[in-house]
């Protein structure tokens, strides 16, 4: 299996090299160096220009605030919920509710939330008869200047993410005995979890938490849909400069991307301080022997928050679907006057191209990611060594650096290279973000498969390749299909890399949907955003059906 030997260096290369080259491609122009655009002297004038932009610091502060608050609130809710409810039936139900939410793209969830909480949205319609409201109130809910709605849109999506990451970490700890031990000593559930398990859980999920910080400080699509306008958050302003037809504005954009990188690094540093502070408080409470036995209120609040987050996303998606087929829908009616497929029909001709790009880019990047991941994991088996925590860091690296800070550099390099292989470049940037998720989702089941099956096959005289193809891959078919669906969903959801590399010449359902945000036509937004949700769901449906059909006569291949 010489091919497997190539997989680890290739994978590390794909994870790290674009990051390095992208950052170089961002930082050099920020200091004036970009020969393709006539910049040959090193200068700081572009930073001076950047800091002279109106309200630039407010934009930067907004990004910092939204990023930190989103992460703190999401993680707090998830930890309290897991502490208060794990190993109960309620917990299992919520788990079933939250798992599918991971597949919903951020932009679709944001649109759904907007349809719910806008002044003319569904929640106000529900309240209208009670309060006698007959027209949409004049409130700035969407695009509020503090970014609170944007935070809400991020939180409802980060809760399922952090929840599932935590769920994956729990089985590696002596969860049940520890909880029994602490409750036998008279500690409340939340306190017992916080003292005995949370430090170990956090150690395992911390890279995912840092990824959330990096994402939330630099997110563009959710900010365009729900975020403030005057001024917008920093990444939204950056994207405008990056797309400016006047190419000289790219120097300014590069300087801005460096500022964005600093904002994210500052957020991570502040988070590090927050980690120390929370650890100190928990340790003090633990050393003081505080039992917190009456934690009912905390438990109920955490359950309520988690459930509301889940329900908001589901209701939002349902509203997207309903709007996409509504003919005429007046305020404050709760149901459209008539249903019609005319929006879908008129949108269809324009959807086909972006849809094809979405599907092809998703399938290609997922397939490459799967091959590389399987190669790496196979190599692990051959050498008997895992990459350890350094490999895990490499895997999370593209997720912990703001996309906008290095994908912009890649775009600069792409343009400078003069190549016209735009689709290949698009697949490649998607791969950078698909690969970590595919690897993270496949590595645990791969490592968990009983190694003795491989030994039996080797003893029967079968080569590694035959063993891989006829034993491992079929036995792991379900896990592989799920990893593929995760990868596809990640690719479908990519907004910024698609906009930067596609440059309007290659568009996907996601970029088209976000482009509709300012128009405010709910029917057409409904079509695109619902389609955006539908694609990952179809992928997950196929991922669960195909293995079930393939192995329908095999009892122990069922879940």
């Amino acid at each position: 299996m010489t091919l497997a030997r190539l997989a680890p260096p290739l994978t590390i290369g794909i994870l790290i090299l674009p990051l390095v080259f992208g950052l170089v491609g961002t930082v050099l122009p920020a200091f004036g160096y970009l020969p393709a655009l006539g910049g040959t002297t090193v200068t700081t004038t572009h930073f001076a220009e950047l800091f002279a932009m109106p309200a630039i610091w407010r934009s930067a502060w907004l990004s910092l605030f939204v990023g930190l608050a989103t992460t703190a609130i999401s993680l707090g809710i998830v930890m309290l919920f897991v502490a208060g409810w794990s190993q109960t039936r309620v917990f299992q139900r919520v788990q079933h509710l939250l798992s599918p939410l991971l597949a919903i793209p951020h932009a679709a969830a944001a649109f759904g939330l907007a349809f719910l909480i806008a002044p003319s949205g569904y929640l106000i319609r529900l309240a209208a008869p009670v309060f006698g409201i007959d027209r949409p109130p004049d409130l700035l809910i969407i695009n509020d200047p503090l970014g609170l709605t944007m935070m809400a849109g991020l939180i409802v999506k980060e809760i399922p993410f952090l929840f599932l990451v935590t769920l994956a970490a729990l089985p590696q700890l002596p969860h049940r005995p520890t909880m029994q031990l602490t409750s036998a000593m008279g500690y409340g559930r939340v306190a017992g979890f916080a003292y005995a398990l949370a430090p170990r859980v956090y150690r395992q999920i911390r890279f995912a938490v840092y990824a959330v910080i990096a994402y939330a400080t630099s997110v563009v699509d959710v900010a365009i849909i729900l975020g403030p306008n005057l001024p917008p958050t920093l990444p939204v302003r950056l994207l405008r400069w990056m797309n400016d037809p006047d190419l000289s504005v790219r120097f300014l954009a590069s300087a801005g991307a460096v500022l964005q990188l600093s904002v994210t690094i500052a957020a991570l540093a502040l988070w590090w301080l927050l980690e120390r502070f929370v650890a100190a408080v928990v340790t003090a409470a633990c050393d003081g022997g505080l039992r917190f036995r009456r934690d009912r209120i905390v438990r109920i609040l955490s359950l309520t928050a988690t459930a509301i987050a889940g329900l908001l996303v589901f209701a939002g998606v349902a509203l997207l679907a309903l709007w996409s087929v509504s003919a005429f829908w007046q305020f404050p009616d709760l149901w459209p006057q008539a249903l019609s497929l005319s929006t879908w029909q008129s949108a269809l001709p324009r959807i086909l191209d972006p849809l094809a790009t979405t599907l092809l880019a998703g399938l290609a990047s997922t397939l490459i990611a799967l091959l590389l991941t399987i190669g790496c994991l196979e190599r692990e088996i051959e050498t008997g060594k895992t990459g350890g925590s350094r490999a895990l860091l490499a895997i999370y690296m593209p997720l912990m650096v703001p996309q906008i800070a290095f994908v912009f550099g890649l775009q600069v390099l792409f343009v400078a290279s003069g190549t016209d292989q735009r689709f290949a470049a698009l697949v490649f940037v998607h791969l950078i973000f698909v690969l970590p998720y595919v690897f993270l989702s496949l590595s645990d089941p791969w490592r968990a498969l009983d190694r003795r099956y491989d030994r039996v096959a080797a003893g029967l005289g079968r080569s590694r390749l035959v063993t891989l193809v006829s034993i491992r891959l079929p036995m792991l078919a379900r896990a592989i299909a799920t990893a593929a669906a995760v990868g596809f969903a990640v690719s479908v959801g990519q907004y910024l890399p698609t906009v930067l590399i596609g440059e309007g010449r290659l568009t996907t359902i996601t970029t088209e949907a976000v482009a509709l945000a300012s128009g405010g036509n709910r029917r057409i937004i409904g079509v695109y955003a619902f389609l955006q949700t539908l694609l990952p769901f179809l992928a997950f449906a196929i991922a669960s059906l195909v293995p079930a059909l393939l192995f329908r006569g095999r009892r122990s291949m069922r879940v």
Binding site: R455, A457, G459, L460, G461, R464, S470, P474
Partner: protein, 218 residues
Amino acid sequence: MTQPERAGLSLRDIAIRLDGRLLIALDAHVAPGETLTVMGPSGSGKSTLLAYIGGFLDPIFDAQGQVLVDGVDLTALPADARHAGILFQDPLLFPHMSVASNIAFALPPDVKGRANRRAIAEKALAEVDLAGFGPRDPDTLSGGQKARVALQRVLLSRPRLLLLDEPFAKLDMSLRAQTRRLVFDQARAAKLPVILVTHDAADAEAAGGAVFEMNGAP
């Protein structure tokens, strides 16, 4: 080939260490059809010896010594070229294949033709009172039936030797004696040298060969 030709399995000056600590030291010969039983408490490194002979020893161990079968040195060969058939505590039938496919998977590639391979598999099943079980889902078989399928699977792969890693430990008493007899009869009939690892004295007695006692790990 400088080794003198000697039929059976030769284990020459085998020494396996972990972090410099000697786990196993063994020098033995097992004639075709005979069994060497390695006994010792769990954790004493019995299975490590099997891993070394089978060619899948974890690289954290430091191992020396030669493994020869009928004068052929296996030590440098990869696991899949050694033809060291192995039976574990669990039958480890491949769950996604039918019972017959499990057995057919073991047939060497020089046995040609799908129908032919299938017929050989069915015949092997009939030999252990499992005629007609070919199309079944392995998961629907009883523990004793699975053990017999696993045995036929390993025998049909034409192994040079047989490694048994406590293969009877999970069977209940009545089945154990019966399965034990079947395994040793078949191995004797096929003239295979056998290494049996166990902590059950009754296994050693049934095997009837030499016994190597290991000390518990300190």
